[in-house]
């Protein structure tokens, strides 16, 4: 792919917990419209990278440039506002809210109604509420769980919960969707359906950052892949090259 535009650039991001270096000056660049994979053995710092990116952790040094704007550390809602949405490795839904309500919460950022609107229930607020519900319903259709709209999130099956988390993330109108191990615990059919969904999301103009253990899924889906090992980026390239890189093979098989 030619003439690529940078969406996200990480510059020497470092994060340590006490003496443990979770991330060691990681730099990487994600282009607009690609599916970018982030892989690595357990404890390599993939999720830490995600948490720094989405403002849940404060990185000690380095910074992120997103769409040309420098991200503020430690401000998750601002990361969401500029257009980074994420899912969690251990699913974090609002369990006692319905699937529809979960997605409606995702619309919070792009809607305005305040206390006075809520209390007076003026026509603007009612219109906005209807639009929120409509959009949430569309997104449930989009990820294919519309028939579960009025079930409580915690009653959904594992695969459906993953899908719901994606729908909720998409509700924030992201430019970059960061998925943290979306295929974990899924069977072959579910993984295949997920692959189709992620490709659809990219086709609809959202850049995808994917952390995944399922190497087959990553290699089949991603345009480019970065490999983390002990908090360091050891390789970044197209899947075919990454697969043959001796350092990657070493990281996965050796020591």
């Amino acid at each position: 792919m030619a003439e690529q535009q940078t969406l996200l650039a990480a510059h020497e991001v470092a994060k340590h917990f006490g003496g443990v270096k979770a991330l060691h000056d990681v730099s990487l660049t994600i282009h607009r419209g690609e599916i970018y994979g982030l892989i690595g053995p357990n404890g390599a710092g993939k999720t830490t990278f995600f948490n720094c990116l989405t403002g849940l952790y404060r990185n000690e040094s380095g910074h992120f440039l997103f769409d040309g704007v420098r991200l503020e550390a430690d401000a998750p809602h601002k990361a969401a506002e500029v257009g980074i949405a994420r899912t969690f490795q251990n699913i974090r839904l609002f369990g006692n809210m319905t699937a529809l309500e979960n997605v409606m919460v995702g619309r919070h950022l792009r809607t305005r109604a305040g206390v006075f609107g809520a209390i007076s229930r003026n026509s603007a607020t009612r219109g906005e509420e209807a639009a929120i519900a409509r959009r949430a319903d569309e997104l449930l259709h989009y990820v294919g769980i519309q028939e579960r709209a009025h079930d409580y999130a915690r009653h959904l099956s594992y695969g459906d919960q993953r899908r719901l988390e994606i729908a909720r993330a998409l509700a924030t109108e992201p430019k970059l969707l960061a998925l943290d191990e979306p295929a974990a615990g899924m069977n072959g059919t579910e993984t295949e359906a997920l692959r189709v969904l992620v490709e659809g999301i990219r086709r609809d103009g959202v850049t995808v950052l994917l952390i995944e253990h399922d190497v087959k899924l990553v290699m089949g889906l991603c345009d480019r892949v970065a490999v983390l090992d002990y908090g360091e980026k050891i390789c970044e390239d197209v899947p075919a090259v990454v697969q043959k890189d001796p350092r990657v093979i070493e990281a996965y098989l050796g020591g």
């Binding site: 369990g95 529809l100 919460v105 206390v115 509420e129 993330a169």
Partner: protein, 358 residues
């Protein structure tokens, strides 16, 4: 508009029940008056506490923030009214000017308390708010020197009653041949305010803000990742709860004609919180029930225990006041043991608790 929000209005589905409620609400002050004006005052306090408990419900029930110093905002509202409508400073503003002032001032205090502390969670927040409640009370107690602002422990007396033009809430007047006493007038004022706070509660619950509160309660990290500015949204709950406390305080001051720091003890905060928890956090009918029970029962005990002991034992064995606290404590323990989600919980809260114990 074909969204899921278009359904028949609530009042049209439940018109019979609502008619019944209106009938009972209209009858209460007159029935209570048969037992003396004291019972009307008790009914008034019950409604005042319904108002307070529903204000606190926004903070505790919706946003899930444990506030043990709610009475501070009540005190701010009460003192605001007392200082602006009494001979203490010789200022006599009308109540409809002071009540919003009291609400705004309490709201300001809510923000002042909340802004630095809302990063704290659970127990830590509870301790800070508890401290805040005590600070306000101690301030009220000691702000009589060097400049006498609050008149210290003696409190402020001769506070103006609510008055609209020549129509005073302190006197008995006659409408269409029906005589309505002062406390009965306050009753209707309080019911109107209670209806207001109920509407606010209901509408907030099913709104963008209400969903954000629930999301924070369910999973704060996920709520942040969804783009909710959790600090501001929590602050909003705090400020709203505080404003309602301020309004309640103003009405309390006008109704009593007297305020002193004694009325705003920690016990008061705990009682209001108990109303919310006992009734069913986040569930409006539950909170109303809790407030009415916890105001009504102690009074009933006060009047019932003495004759009961006289009849059974022929003399007083236990002082009614201490027995009241005993029964109150026992009731709390029993409810928490057998109905941990409250006497009349919302189905949602039942689920949350069921999940927590799974």
């Amino acid at each position: 508009m074909n969204g899921p929000s278009t359904k028949r209005p609530y009042w049209r589905q439940h018109w019979l029940g609502l008619l019944l409620v209106v009938g009972v609400l209209l009858a209460v002050p007159f029935v209570a008056a048969l037992g003396g004006q004291a019972w009307v005052r008790i009914a008034n306090f019950a409604i005042l506490y319904v108002f307070l408990a529903l204000g606190l419900n926004i903070v505790v029930g919706y946003a899930g923030l444990l506030d043990l110093g709610y009475v501070a905002f009540y005190a701010v509202g009460a003192y605001c009214y007392a200082l602006l409508a009494s001979p203490h400073f010789g200022i006599h503003l009308p109540f409809w000017v002071i009540l919003p002032c009291g609400a705004a001032l309490a709201c300001l205090f809510g923000v002042l308390l909340g802004a630095p502390t809302l990063k704290l969670r659970g127990d830590y927040l509870a301790i800070v708010t508890l401290g805040f409640g005590e600070i306000i009370r101690i301030f009220m107690n000691n702000l009589n020197a060097p400049i006498n602002i609050t008149n210290g422990a003696q409190g402020i007396t001769l506070i103006d009653p609510v008055r609209i033009g020549d129509f005073s809430f302190a006197r008995t007047s006659t409408f269409f041949g029906i005589s309505i006493s002062g406390p009965q007038k306050y009753y209707f004022l309080l019911v109107a305010l209670a209806v207001l706070v109920i509407v606010v509660n209901i509408r907030l619950q099913n709104s963008r803000i209400g969903r954000a509160w629930q999301a924070i309660r369910e999973d704060e990290v996920a709520a942040k990742a969804c783009g909710i500015n959790t600090r501001n949204i929590k602050l909003l709950a705090f400020a709203m709860g505080a404003s309602f406390g301020g309004i309640a305080g103003g009405v309390f001051a006008a109704m009593q004609g007297f305020v002193s720091p004694e009325s705003f003890s920690l016990m008061e905060s705990i009682t209001i919180l108990a109303m919310v928890v006992l009734g069913g956090m986040g569930h409006i009918p539950g909170v109303i029930l809790g407030a009415i029970l916890l105001t009504g029962l102690p009074e009933a005990l006060r009047y019932g225990i003495e004759p009961l002991q006289q009849a059974v034992f022929g003399r007083m064995i236990i002082d009614p006041e201490s027995l009241r606290m005993l029964v109150f404590g026992l009731a709390l323990v029993l409810v928490m043991r057998f109905r941990p989600a409250g006497l009349w919980p919302s189905s949602l809260r039942r689920r949350e608790l069921a999940e927590a114990t799974d």
